[in-house]
Symmetry: C2
Subunit: 212 residues, 2 copies
DNA sequence: CGCCCTGTGTGATCTGGGTCACTGTACTTC
DNA sequence: GAAGTACAGTGACCCAGATCACACAGGGCG
């Protein structure tokens, strides 16, 4: 599948000319499940549009802790690759990992400015991407600040359900603990509590969210 | 003082035409010390440029908790007013408070897009503002996530010193506790510890940061 | 001067959640 | 089917930080 076809499929609201320009200059990159896309401490040289698969975006702490922030799904752009990219900068401090085989279009940064000026739909897309990531980040800030772990866990599970599009979540307790920067035992206990409250059922290797 | 004069003083890198356009459409707003500028739950209708004074920007939790995020100083723009503004949106969930008598230029949102297209210096300014606030927010996230309170307090004090431009910080322990979403007693104890480490001297109503 | 009010110091206690040390249970591989 | 290897459950313990309950100091003001 070529760049234009991907763009048609996941970015249908882009003008034709915009799609052509992107296609002419971008490179299509395949990422296999488990692979890391952005490494902490690495420069950006391109903006990324996700067209296939599912990526998880993490914030990395200094001691190698990883904290899950959000998913990138087809049709999404990595706001960070736009933002941090805009000028040379020491370290990105974020990390993206593909959890499925994925495809991203890499748009060289130099193109950004002219696309912004030439195409209204690109301008709005970029601004909207900024806006929504910014807001997401704000959400994260006050979850971490103001909410206890049990509440954060519930929100996390809801997120997963939405992003994965299924009430069966293929997650181990250990993974959840990593994503929330907590520990397995604590997550196990909290999950058990939620099970008792009939909000979910625990199985081996997956969790079933009950509706309601 | 009129808008052009303010712009000349604090935004000298703007093109002349840009300054004129802004001056022609913005309104100059005076805010007195202690006044709140943005209320949680309120829509934005303009982007703000700070030209005088000092504003503190808070994130508000659901139960009325306030968490200090950063200062807005002359020459700064409120990234949030750009971001959230870009489309009607339920609630801002952030709050700005003037700690000195301040002046801001309010630029109507409709102007944004044409300014972006017409003026390179405006485009870079906006992108750079996004970038730096985004990064600040990321810093905040991992401070809160990965650092203990004593370390966060040190960072906070450094911030204050930089933003206020003086090693005498006119802050009560209670204020600091509010800003860090902690409690007075804990802050008092930690400050005492820092005093014992000769990093600062505690006085009534102000804290003196020792160099080094 | 005594009164009050704001800011500060300090101990006692409580609790969420992290850590340690296990046990138990499925599933895989040979 | 035995052994090894993820995953999951559970108790005991610890600690940062919150909360409570004070006591006290300085500064204004009648």
């Amino acid at each position: 599948m070529n760049a234009i076809a991907y763009l048609d499929q996941h970015f249908p609201h882009f003008e034709q000319g915009l799609k052509e320009q992107i296609a002419a200059h971008c490179t299509v990159r395949q990422i296999s499940a488990g692979e890391r896309l952005i490494q902490t401490g690495q420069y950006f040289r391109s903006t990324m549009l996700v067209t296939e698969g599912r990526l998880k975006l993490y914030r990395e702490g200094e001691e190698g802790d990883e904290f899950f922030m959000y998913y990138l799904l087809p049709g999404d752009a990595c706001a960070l690759s736009m933002v941090c990219a805009s000028r040379p900068h020491p370290a990105s401090e974020i990390m993206a990992k593909a959890i499925e085989d994925s495809v991203v279009l890499m748009i060289p940064l130099q193109l950004m400015e002219s696309l912004m000026q030439e195409f209204k739909s690109w301008y709005s897309f970029v601004v909207e991407t900024y806006r929504s990531r910014f807001e997401e980040l704000l959400q994260i800030v006050d979850q971490v600040l103001f909410k206890a772990l049990d509440e954060r866990l519930v929100i996390y599970l809801e997120h997963q359900q939405k992003a994965l599009g299924s009430p069966q979540l293929q997650l181990t307790h250990q993974e959840i603990a990593n994503d929330l920067n907590s520990s397995r035992e604590v997550i196990s206990r909290l999950l058990k509590k939620l099970e008792q409250q009939k909000k979910l059922v625990l199985h081996r290797n997956y969790i079933e969210i009950l509706p309601g």
